[in-house]
């Protein structure tokens, strides 16, 4: 169970959400927008840890779990990067700055930034919208730069237009100390002079040293091949962390639908070490 | 004891086919024929577009009566739509009757584009019937009023 202060930060039931105000909307890619959310009286709705999620809802439309993409070191607001792919997300994409949404959380565990990851060299591997949960960790690490070793970020997407947070990647991450960013896109594209190819193969080409702890997030098929590539490169499963995602309703391990075996993704996850994932029945 | 001076104003939902009955309602309006404002018209492409669920849904959301209006048999814009609608509505209304929704609360009427007078008469009549029956309390969802 997580050690955060979730659901203790206000006196209603954990299933009852708080009202949040959308204070900024950035169009990241044609189908991804990043929403900045504040409490109505200003400031953050709650504190969270990198990798945690929150339930975002619009009354009468729906409710779904999204990872919090902003870093806990950001003291002013929370951000959610949301891809348009269903009823709720379609609605969210039509929102304007100043509109209200409802948020409850944070839920789930987090990447072990204060324990296992401390002092380690880190390798982040992300695909498409999978950067969202990792961005929280990357910014946390960069804001506490001296606590960690080198940082390598491998990030790929379908096309150059689908890279989320490109501005931040170029202006902050690429300039940070001991930090290397490797971008790739699936197919050649005019105006793109970077690497072309899928993330797993790019990873193999990079020939990174195996003294790193890896954090992977992206579409399931990418995660599968990345893990394969890592094993080939000599990484062990204990060195890699990933996040899982399943249908959720309650967010607190009670409604009974997001389990894989005896683990609930909302409560015992979403962050799992890859050797733990291997022990789960194949139903995700 | 409190006295309720407010007159009961029935909520009526009228599904009108686009080609005849809706035009009939239009004609009633432009000929300045009066019919109660509590009749809420929903325009449908054809009377056979009316899904039985629409009717239950109308009752759920607080309608006191539901009426379906379409072209006269033989005049359907899509040639046979209203024949199917006629069978469906006969059976559905019979079923509603069977579960305790008074017969007067449901009605099918064929109104052509030229029958503005008939439209207004029908509506006046229907509202009167419903007024006699009172509020629909059997097939509504109480939450709707909250």
């Amino acid at each position: 169970m997580c050690d955060c202060n979730c659901h203790q930060n206000y006196n209603l039931d954990t299933l009852v959400p708080m009202v949040g105000i959308v204070t900024d909307i950035r169009q990241e890619t044609p189908d991804v927008k990043t929403f900045r959310v504040n409490a109505p009286e200003g400031g953050k709705l709650f504190e969270h840890k990198p990798g945690q999620c929150a339930m975002v809802s619009v009354p009468g439309v729906g409710e779904a779990m999204f990872s919090i993409t902003s870093s806990p070191t950001n003291k002013e607001y929370q951000e959610f990067s949301i891809k348009k792919c269903g009823v709720l997300t379609d609605y969210l994409h039509d929102l304007q700055v100043g509109d209200e949404i409802m948020v409850r959380g944070p839920y789930g565990n987090n990447f072990p930034v204060d324990t296992e990851l401390k002092g380690k060299n880190l390798l982040f591997v992300a695909g498409g919208i999978g950067l969202a949960p990792l961005r929280s960790v990357i910014n946390y690490v960069l804001d506490n730069r001296d606590d960690y070793g080198t940082v390598d970020i491998v990030y790929g997407s379908r096309s150059a237009d689908d890279l989320v947070q490109l501005k931040e990647i170029q202006e902050v991450w690429m300039k940070a100390k001991d930090t290397n960013v490797y971008l790739t896109i699936d197919r050649p594209q005019e105006g793109w002079d970077g690497h072309v190819g899928f993330v797993p193969s790019y990873l193999s080409e990079l020939e990174l040293s195996t003294d790193k702890t890896v954090l992977v997030c992206g579409p399931p098929i990418m995660i599968k091949f990345v893990l394969g590539a890592l094993t080939e490169m000599g990484f062990s499963k204990e060195q890699a962390y990933t996040t899982l995602e399943l249908r959720m309703k309650c967010g607190v391990g009670k409604c009974g639908r997001c389990n894989i075996g005896s683990k609930y993704v909302c409560k015992d996850g979403p962050v799992f070490r890859c050797d733990e994932v291997d022990e789960l029945p194949n139903e995700y | 004891m409190s006295i309720n001076n407010e007159e009961f104003r029935p909520q009526i939902v009228a599904f009108c086919c686009n080609w005849c009955s809706y035009a009939g309602a239009d004609l009633a309006g432009s000929s300045r024929l009066a019919y109660p404002a509590d009749v809420k018209i929903i325009r449908v492409p054809c009377s056979c577009r009316v899904n039985p669920m629409f009717i239950l849904r109308a009752f759920e959301k607080g309608a006191d009566g539901v009426i379906i209006c379409g072209c006269h048999p033989g005049d359907c814009h899509y040639s046979t739509g209203n024949y199917y609608a006629r069978r469906r509505m006969t059976l559905l209304f019979s079923m509603l009757d069977y579960v305790g929704i008074e017969r007067g609360r449901t009605r099918v009427e064929w109104v052509s584009a030229a029958e503005g007078v008939k439209f207004s008469q029908t509506m006046n009549e229907f509202v009167e019937t419903i007024r006699g029956l009172g509020k629909n309390v059997r097939l509504g969802d109480l939450r709707c009023k909250k």
């Binding site: - | 669920m53 006629r86 059976l91 079923m95 449901t106 939450r143």
Partner: protein, 321 residues
């Protein structure tokens, strides 16, 4: 029963069938389950007795996707459902070998339990080969006698007849069980005042737990995705805070199968709360017969259903009784 098993073994041996869709012995006296038997050896668990009420027709929708020919055992009333499924192109006639089996009326364990009989450890007299009119129910609290007729499912009292509407071959004799008027229940309700009608259905439907067993067992409810499973719809299949939605569900479900419902009675049989759901379906059947001429869904696999058909001089809604 041995007759069926021998014949099935023979069919296996001749290579005419690849599997059998039938009933497997349960672990109590009254709970056989539907099962696919993949070989002649597997038939050792086969059973056909008074508690094999389940209509197997609907299982053939999935069965049609299997390799080879499936032998299916259909009671007379099940064949109506099967015809209907053929008409709707939901089963593949080529992949089925239909064995029409006789029926002596099917038993309802709920009826037996409602008589106050508890702790049932065995039931004698339910075997298909037994010509007895009486069941001996062995219980932890002593033996009880029950007339076979009194323990029958409601639908058997108003049996449509013991003739199979479709089959490749027939096995076993049937016994006539009809002793009631199919529409008596409907007539009784029709005679009530609106208040009483509403009261009656409220009382019955308020028991509904929205388990969807009636829908899922119904051979006419064969949509790949039910409208009540849609999430673009306020009252999905699950329980709502307000009771309106139960009425909605049952009225609409009955309407969706109107003209296609063969009155097989499975909905009433499976309802865990014993709601007489057949009363909805029979109301439609009665109205259809009365207004548009007698029609028996599933009598054949060709005739147009009454709701996909019309005549120019159908009666108006206002003219109904």
């Amino acid at each position: 029963m041995q007759e069926i098993i021998s014949r099935l073994e023979q069919l296996f041996a001749e290579g005419k069938i690849n599997r059998v869709l039938g009933w497997k012995k349960g672990d109590l006296a009254y709970n056989p389950e539907v099962s696919y038997f993949e070989s002649a050896e597997a038939l050792k668990d086969f059973v056909y007795d008074g508690f094999c009420g389940a209509n197997l027709s609907k299982y053939m929708i999935q069965g049609s996707a299997l390799e080879g020919v499936t032998a299916i055992l259909l009671k007379p009333c099940d064949t109506y459902s099967f015809n209907q499924l053929i008409k709707e192109h939901r089963v593949d006639r080529e992949k089925v070998y239909i064995i029409g089996i006789g029926c002596k009326g099917k038993l309802n364990i709920e009826t037996i339990k409602a008589m106050g009989i508890k702790g049932i450890t065995g039931i004698k007299g339910a075997e298909i080969d037994c010509a007895c009119d009486e069941l001996t129910v062995e219980t932890l609290y002593g033996d009880k006698k029950v007339a076979y007729k009194d323990a029958m499912l409601e639908r058997c009292h108003v049996c449509k007849g013991k003739e199979h509407m479709i089959y490749d071959e027939l096995l076993l004799e049937s016994a006539d069980t009809l002793d009631g008027d199919r529409f008596a229940g409907v007539d009784a309700i029709e005679a009530l005042s609106p208040e009483e009608k509403f009261e009656f259905f409220r009382k019955e439907l308020s028991k509904c737990i929205r388990c969807n067993a009636c829908r899922n067992v119904c051979p006419a409810c064969s949509c790949r995705k039910c409208v009540f499973d849609s999430n673009k719809f306020d009252s999905e299949q699950k329980a709502n805070v307000d009771p309106f939605n139960e009425s909605m569900f049952h009225i609409i479900r009955a309407f969706h199968v109107a003209g296609r419902c063969t009155d097989c009675g499975e909905c009433s049989r499976v309802c865990p709360q014993g709601i007489p759901l057949h009363l909805f379906n029979r109301k439609f059947i009665k109205d259809i017969n009365e207004y548009y001429g007698d029609f028996i869904a599933g009598e054949n696999a060709e005739e147009k259903g009454p709701l996909t058909n019309f005549t120019l001089d159908d009666m108006e809604a206002s003219e109904r009784r």
